[in-house]
């Protein structure tokens, strides 16, 4: 009798969890749909109003051993269609010729800058200014503290009220800054804004800009196209609509400089410094009862390289999950805090229950069900019913993201693209989701046991930067 009770409880929990998880995301998608309609409804009118108004932005680009690619990355950034911006390349103590290459290509000259240390970083060895591009500076610092420390050094040197922190290998839309700065113009209380990141694999890139949009042939990259659509168009836009966005992506984010400085900058001792900062901003600003907004623009502003092999993908997903755990744990004071708002009362508990702990429930659920079925404790019909429910709910969520994409940007030009992505939304349930849950479970256990995480080598699939 007790075994039956346990099994029944597990069944209810498993089903309830999946229904609640996917139901919440569907509600977020509906919120996102209204947000999209509002956003797109005013887009052309807003472009006319804001076309002459552009808040200056400092683009902070950390570079570590990027001698082969940094010149193309910087050239692409210098060509962005925006009036007032500066590019700050932070050479993070590279062991290769990164600094020498930059010196030669951009005619760098040492600059006696009165550098101010508002956020403590590894020592800065020198600051250079380009004779060719007045809006390009290079900060040469000692290595240590990872990307977070390098970005902090860039923030210290930044002149403008907003700064962009992104990856050197991302491909930016030429108008990306216009899109992402718009929320800061519309609402002066905006402190951070993220943009939609898409997968560049399968696209043609020339001179640092996207020339033709396509879908990758690699099945792993293809699944990630659907994943990114689901995460950005559904989840993030939905959370942003209620000011509960807990992550501004490290690939593309613009922040209000003074607010970030006051919050202490990026933390160098965590893996997911982008999410950690975003959650920290919510925690600190809500505790101060400050009026603030962390927002998101749905325009596809940044295209990033997706892993095409299981090893790189596994490492990336483990890092992300570890970053999630650290961000939530370090800012646990936000959860149900008195003035935490939607971020503290909805998003934070949701992320703990349905993102952080989801691999436990998913993997646990699959194992218990499979064992119960194997030992004859569960009928084939019951087993199939639960698997079908989990798969179909996941598929529903992915398809709703595809619908949102069609209602908004229609980035992928052909109807066959849409059908292919739908096929992927079905097939990802057969193995991909399970292995992902397994990696995330490994990351969670590793974090609980205090194990160090291995970065490994990221294999690049997009070669546009190489000279």
């Amino acid at each position: 009798m007790s075994v039956r009770l346990v099994l029944e409880t597990v069944q209810w929990l498993f089903l309830g969890y999946f229904v609640l998880l996917n139901g919440t995301y569907l509600v977020l998608n509906v919120i996102a749909l209204f947000g999209l309609r509002r956003y797109l409804g005013g887009t052309s009118a807003a472009e006319r109003v804001y076309s002459h108004l552009q808040m200056p932005v400092s683009l902070v680009v950390p570079a570590y051993n990027e001698a082969a690619t940094i010149v193309s990355s910087v050239r692409a950034l210098l060509q962005l269609r925006y009036q007032h911006f500066e590019v700050l390349v932070v050479n993070d103590g590279s062991l290769d010729d990164t600094l020498a290459v930059l010196e030669k290509e951009f005619e760098l000259q040492p600059f006696p800058e009165a550098y101010r240390v508002q956020i403590r970083t590894q020592p800065v060895r020198g600051i250079y200014r380009s004779l060719r591009h007045p809006n390009l500076r290079v900060i040469d610092k000692e290595n240590g503290g990872g990307k977070a420390d390098a970005v902090n050094a860039g923030i210290n040197a930044a002149r403008y009220p907003l700064f962009y922190a992104g990856d050197a290998d991302s491909v930016l839309d030429p108008h990306s800054l216009e899109h992402v700065v718009r929320p800061f113009l519309e609402d002066p209380h905006t402190v951070a804004c993220g943009g939609t990141v898409r997968i560049v694999n399968g696209c043609t890139v020339r001179g640092g800009f996207l020339e033709r949009i396509g879908l990758p042939r690699n099945p792993l990259a293809l699944v990630q196209v659907v994943e990114y659509l689901r995460a950005f168009l559904g989840g993030r836009l939905g959370w942003s609509s209620i000011n509960a966005l807990l992550i501004v992506s490290g690939a593309f984010g613009v922040f209000h400089r003074e607010t970030v400085v006051a919050a202490g900058g990026f933390r160098a001792d965590v893996i997911g410094e982008d999410m950690e900062l975003t959650v920290r901003l919510h925690r600190l600003l809500s505790a101060r009862r400050a009026r603030y907004r962390v927002t998101f623009v749905p325009d596809p502003v940044c295209w990033t390289d997706a892993p095409e092999d299981l090893g790189t993908l596994a490492r990336q997903r483990k890092r992300w999950h570890r970053g999630l755990a650290e961000s939530l744990w370090n800012n646990r004071g936000l959860c149900f805090s008195r003035h935490g708002g939607a971020a503290g009362w909805f998003a934070f508990p949701f992320f703990v229950m349905f993102e952080l702990l989801s691999p436990v429930v998913e993997v646990g659920g699959y194992i218990v069900m499979a064992l119960a079925f194997a030992f004859g404790l569960l009928s084939g019909d019951s087993f199939l019913a639960f698997i079908a429910a989990a798969f179909a709910l996941g598929m529903l969520l992915s398809t709703s993201a595809l619908l949102l994409e069609e209602l908004s940007f229609r980035t992928y030009p052909r109807a066959t693209h849409m059908l292919l992505l739908f096929g992927v939304a079905v097939l990802e349930n057969f193995g991909y989701r399970q292995i992902n849950a397994f990696w995330r479970l490994q990351a969670l256990i590793g974090w609980l046991l205090g194990r160090r995480i291995e970065w490994g080598k990221m294999r690049r699939n997009v070669k546009w930067q190489e000279r």
Binding site: L15, S379, A389, A415, A425
Partner: protein
Amino acid sequence: MDLSTGSDLVVALAWRSAAIAAFGAALMLAGALIVRRYMQHEEEARSRVVAVWRPLLTRIALENAELPTLPCLAPRRLPFFMEEWNALHDALRGDASERLNELARRMGLDAAARHMMHSREIRKRILGIRTLGHLRDAAAWKQLQEQLVAANALVSFYAAAALIQIDAQRAMPGIMLQLAERENWPGEAMARLILEAGANVAREPIRALMLSLEPSKVPPLLPWLGKIDSILASEVATVLLHRHASDDEVVAAALLVVQDATLLPELRRQAGSSNADIRKHLALALGRLGGPEETELLMQLMGDPVWWVRYHAAHSLIRLQGLDDARLDAVRSRLTDRFARDMLDHVRAEESVA
């Protein structure tokens, strides 16, 4: 013990959830494909409207002739036509815009635009408002005033623009009130609009409003006013500096726009302020209004603990008339504060590269 069936209820629910979700997914896919087809169809329709009407509208606007016989336009395609009409209007002035208005009235655009102002779609509301503004439709004044206080910043902004087009002087008090009240208005874009309408139409209402506002509403408006009328801004700032001498935010904002060099003795006293914005803006004001006699005070400000105060003080110093390189070297040798010297080197290097 028969456990092999599990709980019938939970299994039935699982099947039902799966079926509903799968059906929903199929429905959404069908929806996505239908949306794609519909959008393609709309794009084609838009292209057809543009192909027929763009050359015709241009001809009507530029040629002083009788209106020709007009092609048919389905009512549901009117928004496409209105977008074209507004885009052309944005680029034209004078007689050409009058001819476009004549055409619009003949086609009933005024009534359609008034109707569109009540649409739930922001895009349509704004299109209606822009059309009424270009038409200078005084009959829509009351409706436009209602839109001026709309929660959506863009709707209210375009309503303000339309009201200015219809009667700038009459519109100004209401717009100024909005400028003071709203935090979500693009103030600079509004400044541009008022400048286009002729800043003098707004001079007196702006002065009256600025001098009657609560001190807390002044700081964001003064720099804005400086952009559309620097003389008026300086006059208002001078009055406010005396009236609210103890309000740090008002003083900081006034220092940004004040143009009257006779105020310098009074302004110099702000160097001891505990407010960094005041010291920063004072450094800027000294550079703008002062001469070599401000050197000592700027050297003092270059030792300020706040980076931006030092930065602006150094900039102001090297822009003071009569300070050549040799004199700047002499100033540098007198600086005892390392941060002040660093900042002077920094700004001189910056100037030499620029």
